[in-house]
Amino acid sequence: MLEVRDLAVYYGPFPAVREASIRVEPGQLVGLVGPNGAGKTTLLRAVSGLLKPAAGRILFDGFDITGWPAERVCELGLVHVPEGRGLFPRLTVLDNLRLGAYLPRARVEMDRTLKEVFDLFPRLHERRRQLAGTLSGGEQQMLAIGRGLMARPRLLILDEPTLGLSPRLAYEILELVKRLKTERGLTLLVVSQEVLHLLNIADYAFVMETGRITAEGPASALISDPKMRQVYVGL
C-alpha cells in the first residue's frame, strides 16, 4: 500500500534521512522505532508531503506521490497525525473534527464519521463545545486521532501518539490503535517511544538510527532479538 524507496531528506546541508526504505502492506499495523533524532518524524513528514525529499520515491496505492503537497496526499486517503498533534487550539473540539472532514470525499460522510468518532471517544462528545487548546494532553491526542479518522483514511500515520502522556494513558492510546486495526481493518504506520508495547501490537516493524533503517522484521521477531531488547526495551 505504501512503499518508500531510498528516501533522502535534508535540512539545509544536513541529511536527516538517508536511503531509507519502508513498506506497509494493506491491513497491517507497522511500527517505526528508534532513538530521538533518528529521523522518524522527518521520514513521516516527507511521506505526507510536509517536506520535500531530496532523493528517493514514495509510492502510495500505485501513485507516485513523491514531492506532492500535503493537501493532495491527504486527498488519496493517506492521513498523517503529526507529532505535536497539529490541532487548532482556539477552535472547538467539534470544529476541529469537522475540519478533519474538509475534503469533499470525506465531507459527504461527515455526519456518519462524526458519530463513529464520538462512539470511539465518548469524552470528545462531552467536550465538543470546548476549545481544543483547553483539553488535557490525553484528550488532545484523542482529538488528533479523531480528526485523522474524520478524513476517512486508508492509511493512518500516527507520529508519537503517546508522547507526554502518563503510562496509563499511553497504554490506553496504543490499545485503541490496536482496535483500529482489528475492528476497522485500518492500515496504520505508528511511531512511539513505548517500544515494547508498540512491538506487541504491531505486525511488522522498522528500526531507524541516524537517518537509516538499520533493522526490520516481523514485530514478534524483533521483540525477541537480544540486541533490540538491550537497546530499546532496557531488559
Binding site: 493537501e71 503529526p82 487548532f88 478533519g100
Partner: protein, 287 residues
C-alpha cells in the same frame, strides 16, 4: 447633559464606521500575516470613485459601495500573486516586508489621486446626507447613520463568515496551525489569498463609509490609517469582535473628546491609550 449624550451617540456611530474600515486590516494581519498599510489608501480610492459616480452618474454611495466591494476583491486577488506573495516568500519577517511594500503602494496611490482629482478636498453630499435621523430620542445626520450601518453590517458579516461557514473555519485553521491545516487537506496558500482579497474588498466598504462622514483629500488615508491601526492594535489582530469593541471605544473618545475638550487633546488621549495598552497587553485588549 444633552451634549454628552449627543456626542456619545455620534461617537458610537463614528466607531461603527471606523470598525468597517479596520476589520479588513485586522483580518489580513490575523489570518494571512500580511500587514497592509495601503488598506485605507485603497479605501480612499473607493471613496473617490463613489464621489465620481455620485457627481457624474448620480449613483448613490451605498450602491457604489456594493459595486466597489466585489471589484476590490478582484483587485486583491490580482495583487496577491503579483505583489504580495513574492514579498512574503522566503522572508523571515513578512510583517516588515509587507509593511514597507504597502507603505510604498499607499504613497503611489496618494499621488495618483492628486493627479486625477487634484489635492482639493471633496465631500460626498447626497439629498439625504444632512437630513436628521431620530435615534434614541436624539438626532444624527443620515449620512453618518448609513456609514455606521455599513460598518456594522460588514463587521458582523466577517464574524459570521469566519465562525459559521466551513471556509471561514478553514481560514482560522490555517492561521492557528498551518501544518495541521495542510494535513486535513486545506490549501493554506489559497486561504491566505482569499483572506487578503476579502480584506481588500472590505476596504472598499470601509472607505466609502468614512468618505460619507469626512471631507477627504488624497492624503486623508494617512489620518484614517493612524486611527485604524490604533483600533486593530487595541482590538487584537484577527479578533473581529475585538476590532468592533476597540472601534467603539475610539469612537466614544473621539465623540466625547470632540465635544468637551480642545481638538488637540483627541490624538493625545487616543495615542496615550495606545501606549498604555501596548505596555500592559501588547497582543490586544480583546484577544
Amino acid at each position: 447633559m444633552n451634549i454628552v449624550w449627543t456626542s456619545l451617540i455620534s461617537g458610537l456611530l463614528l466607531g461603527c464606521a471606523y470598525a468597517g474600515a479596520a476589520v479588513g486590516l485586522s483580518l489580513a494581519m490575523g489570518m494571512a500575516r500580511v500587514f497592509n498599510l495601503a488598506h485605507t489608501a485603497l479605501g480612499l480610492v473607493c471613496g473617490y470613485l463613489a464621489y465620481f459616480l455620485l457627481t457624474t452618474r448620480g449613483i448613490d454611495p451605498l450602491v457604489a459601495a456594493g459595486l466597489l466591494a466585489p471589484l476590490m476583491f478582484l483587485v486583491g486577488l490580482a495583487l496577491w500573486p503579483t505583489l504580495f506573495r513574492p514579498t512574503v516568500r522566503g522572508v523571515a519577517d513578512p510583517a516588515l516586508s509587507t509593511s514597507i511594500l504597502t507603505l510604498g503602494l499607499a504613497i503611489v496611490i496618494e499621488n495618483l489621486l492628486s493627479k486625477v482629482w487634484t489635492p482639493n478636498p471633496r465631500v460626498i453630499s447626497t439629498a439625504y446626507s444632512n437630513q436628521a435621523v431620530n435615534l434614541l430620542g436624539l438626532t444624527a445626520p443620515a449620512g453618518v447613520v448609513i456609514a455606521a450601518g455599513l460598518g456594522l453590517v460588514l463587521v458582523l458579516g466577517i464574524y459570521w463568515f469566519l465562525n459559521r461557514t466551513f471556509l471561514g473555519l478553514a481560514v482560522q485553521a490555517v492561521a492557528q496551525n498551518p501544518d495541521g491545516a495542510r494535513l486535513v487537506g486545506i490549501r493554506a496558500e489559497l486561504m491566505s489569498m482569499l483572506v487578503f482579497a476579502l480584506s481588500v474588498g472590505t476596504a472598499a466598504v470601509g472607505g466609502v463609509g468614512l468618505a460619507m462622514i469626512y471631507s477627504f483629500g488624497p492624503a486623508s488615508y494617512f489620518d484614517w490609517l493612524l486611527t485604524v491601526l490604533l483600533i486593530v492594535v487595541v482590538g487584537g489582530a484577527g479578533a473581529i469582535l475585538g476590532t468592533l469593541a476597540a472601534a467603539l471605544t475610539v469612537g466614544i473618545v473621539l465623540g466625547l473628546g470632540g465635544a468637551l475638550l480642545p481638538q488637540a487633546w483627541n490624538s493625545l488621549i487616543l495615542f496615550g491609550m495606545l501606549f498604555i495598552i501596548l505596555l500592559l497587553r501588547p497582543y490586544g485588549l480583546f484577544r
